[in-house]
């Protein structure tokens, strides 16, 4: 899962040469192989490193404040979303929905790597959502649909059907 995600992220970042990865432990934590010394461990750490290699610092946040917000959502993705049990999912969706009420992207007005990574992590959750729930978590659904149509993001994942007229008519935009 994490490895396909990293390869999609490489394409999104426009990295030409694919890196070599392996996984470790029960949770299958990704490891970025290195020719010199030990590999780099962890999805967030590797994603941050790839973004720097791609010379896209804007995708990590344009100010210290924004960089902190991006790191926070990246951590949320691997520490909260990844490890959560079924009961937590509702809280996560509810909180994200409130948070995204007045935002286009997780860090505000422009895309950062927190967006594709959260999108990859939420994909199985949104796939399973009933139509009614998609309407309940309207802001999450709107953001999710925006992400799956964002150039270069979706790659390895099937599109999720969103009733766009329902999601886009009510309110802000």
């Amino acid at each position: 899962m994490a490895l396909r995600e990293l390869s999609s992220l490489e394409k999104f970042l426009g990295l030409k040469k694919p890196n070599k990865y392996s996984t470790q432990g029960d949770r299958k934590v990704p490891v970025l192989q290195s020719n010199s010394g030990p590999g780099l461990v962890g999805l967030v750490t590797i994603a941050t490193q790839l973004t720097q290699e791609a010379k896209r610092p804007d995708l990590l946040g344009k100010s210290a404040e924004e960089r902190a917000v991006v790191q926070q959502w990246l951590e949320y993705r691997v520490a909260r979303l990844e490890c959560c049990v079924k009961e937590d999912i509702k809280t996560i969706l509810k909180d994200l929905n409130t948070y995204l009420e007045d935002k286009v992207y997780l860090a505000g007005n422009h895309i950062t790597i927190a967006d594709p990574l959260m999108y990859y992590g939420l994909h199985p959750v949104i796939m399973d959502l009933a139509v009614m729930d998609k309407e309940k978590y309207l802001n999450v659904t709107r953001w999710f649909d925006h992400m799956q149509h964002y150039p270069g993001v979706r790659h390895h994942l099937p599109p999720v059907v969103v009733l766009r007229n329902r999601v886009y008519t009510s309110g802000h935009h």
Partner: protein
């Protein structure tokens, strides 16, 4: 320009890290002490502390992101080694610690907490033994040192866990712990009360997954 506000609560182990980093970096910030139930971050359903209200109006609710932010505004950029430690702390160490603290403080267990921490502690010991610098990532104390020290502090408090075998961990842990910033933050959070100081905070937290795992050991665990 309005000033940043850091919200902390007494007996909350996560506040240890942010207060130590704040002291160490000298970042200007208003510190407000609130109770555990205070809903500071408007979009989160559960009260989450510590939290930082940024000047632009945004909120940080991740302890590690707050620590890293303080380091960055004081002039120290993050690097991949410290990123890796911070991610490990959040994904591997924290879940084990939450279980261990719950077992020790709320259920009065003695051996189970150590078992819960066995894997992450042995990984840390190995890494510390192999390192070539005084601290985790450099010769000077970095954000990863404070984050890990603050996380482990309550577990190593009093007779909670023995560090006997973990020589490298003990040397490093003491080296970080004697820094005035760390001593000051532990006084603020624990008030000299030991792990008992955490009780009020832990009572308000959901029971961690897997903390009732050792039912078959015939110790009274009503959850």
């Amino acid at each position: 320009m309005q000033i940043m506000k850091l919200f902390v609560s007494e007996g909350n182990p996560h506040c240890l890290k942010v207060l130590a980093v704040l002291e160490l970096t000298g970042v200007k910030c208003d510190v407000q002490h609130v109770n555990h139930e205070e809903k500071v971050v408007p979009f989160l359903s559960r009260p989450t502390l510590p939290a930082l209200h940024l000047r632009g109006g945004l909120y940080l609710f991740s302890t590690n992101a707050i620590c890293q932010y303080f380091y960055e505004v004081s002039g120290t950029e993050s690097n991949k080694q410290s990123n890796q430690w911070l991610e490990w702390e959040a994904t591997e160490l924290q879940p084990a610690l939450t279980r261990a603290l719950h077992l020790a403080v709320m259920q009065g267990k003695t051996t189970d907490p150590a078992k819960a921490l066995e894997a992450p502690l042995s990984f840390l010991e190995q890494s510390l033994t192999k390192r070539t610098t005084a601290f985790l990532t450099a010769e000077t104390v970095g954000v990863a040192d404070i984050v890990l020290w603050g996380a482990l502090y309550p577990a190593f408090l009093e007779n909670g866990l023995k560090m006997g075998e973990l020589q490298s961990t003990k040397t490093w842990f003491d080296r970080v712990g004697v820094l005035p910033a760390c001593e000051a933050s532990s006084r603020i959070v624990f008030k000299g009360k030991g792990v008992e100081a955490l009780k009020g905070y832990l009572q308000k937290q959901p029971v961690p997954h897997g903390s009732q795992a050792h039912r078959d050991s015939h110790t009274s665990s009503s959850g």
